[in-house]
Symmetry: D2
Subunit: 145 residues, 4 copies
DNA sequence: TTTT
DNA sequence: TTTT
């Protein structure tokens, strides 16, 4: 009865931060930049505005983030928008919004013909996770369309 | 390294068709209409064009489609675009494109204050499935943002 | 080089709020609820969590929101995620995140062929706006695929 | 009242093809590959399946495709799914499905701070078009959230 | 504060 | 026919 989806393509502003739950499950957190260009109505000039998104990854997806992304990496992320309420030291309410990621795709694959050096930020294309694996679970091999 | 996603909101043109695999797994198929309005460049008139999408659902999601949708139902569908090749009787190649659904949301909930009769097309709001369940598997209860 | 997209389907928690810029342009603001259901790991029970989104609409789209939505309305919204920084009275920094809407679709409409009465909350299916009109501007009438 | 959206991230299988309407408007067409990995139920092995999408771009967006993409380029595309009916030489009906693109983002860009040489396939990050420009037209400079 |  |  409802849909809550964020789709982001952007670059990491810093290396991912990883921490672990008492259960041992990993949580990775990144800051992701997206930039819009628009023409300013007053001046008529092109301007750009960068939005910084806080994105969290859980479980196996967090391990992938840890291993295969770093500052500057370009990624595709799909997730849910979540706002949590917390109390500041003075007891006042504060709100913080983040994207709880469900899917990750590492971007920036070299086009054929490009023979750049390979101090590549991507060691592999692994993605997926407990949370996104469903995406591939259609039984392709036995579907009689 | 790639994304293949379709997002559709539309109405079923007919009741869903269900069939079963030898394994017992259900496959549901619907025809979904989406309509675009646009202004015709020549005449300046508003016109509309309806696109009919073939959407297939697998496993538990197919059972939900069978039970909770019928001709006219409004649904939100997320899935993958797939084109299969098949041979016509004369041996020539043919291609058919469909959406392999991964998520379903039943739409058309009544707004509060509406006290319409309830020969409602929706008996419940169940959705999800083996294929979409991942969406809800974020461990909300133990995430220290 | 980047994508910043939110896709929401939910219900308005209250009637929309409209205000006007000095230029006369309308801005509409709604609170939109999306609800996730998940199974609690500890108790094994189904739980649900509701997320409240602040969504803003500009220009013509704001007028559509004003005229065709109200508390309880079910809508599809597409937009950008934006976080602005502001100063609290004590001078400390605060952050607030919202969705700047680019597309609106009113949901819950009757499929064609349904001849129900029309004390419908929606007087029409108008959507679009200066911001989303591009969606329909593909010259369908003269595309030789 | 409906949504018809495709979101694709993939690589071009060949250089784009450009043609021009009698009106002078450009139409660019590409073949875009997306690849899914999944575990085969019978063998337990990882397999992959590649889907080839036909994507068409119109007007200014077609010019961007012509100028900034080639075989192997990685792109993000958003558009509508469209199926047209046509007659084969024997008079029988055939159907062909394509994505009519509304947005293009060139991927694989270097993060800021990277000072690589620039015999880059992308001379710039231009995207947008008559059809997608709306995306940036939110009047950021005068929105009092 | 919505919806089911 | 791409990409990894």
């Amino acid at each position: 009865m409802s849909v809550n989806k964020a789709i982001l393509v952007g670059n990491l502003g810093a290396d991912p931060e990883i921490r672990y739950m008492p259960s041992g499950d990993a949580i990775a957190s990144i800051r992701l930049a997206t930039t819009d260009r628009y023409r300013d109505k007053q001046s008529g000039e092109m301007k750009e505005i960068t939005e910084w998104h806080r994105v969290s990854f859980f479980g196996r997806l967090a391990e992938v983030v840890k291993e295969y992304t770093r500052k500057g990496s370009q990624v595709y992320v799909e997730g849910k928008i979540r706002t949590r309420k917390w109390q500041a030291q003075d007891g006042s309410d504060r709100y913080s919004t983040e994207i709880a990621a469900l899917t990750l795709q590492l971007l920036g694959g070299r086009p054929s013909g490009d023979r750049g050096d390979s101090r590549n930020e991507r060691g592999s294309q692994q993605t997926g996770s407990r949370h996104s694996m469903g995406e591939n679970e259609i039984p392709d091999d036995d579907i009689p369309f």
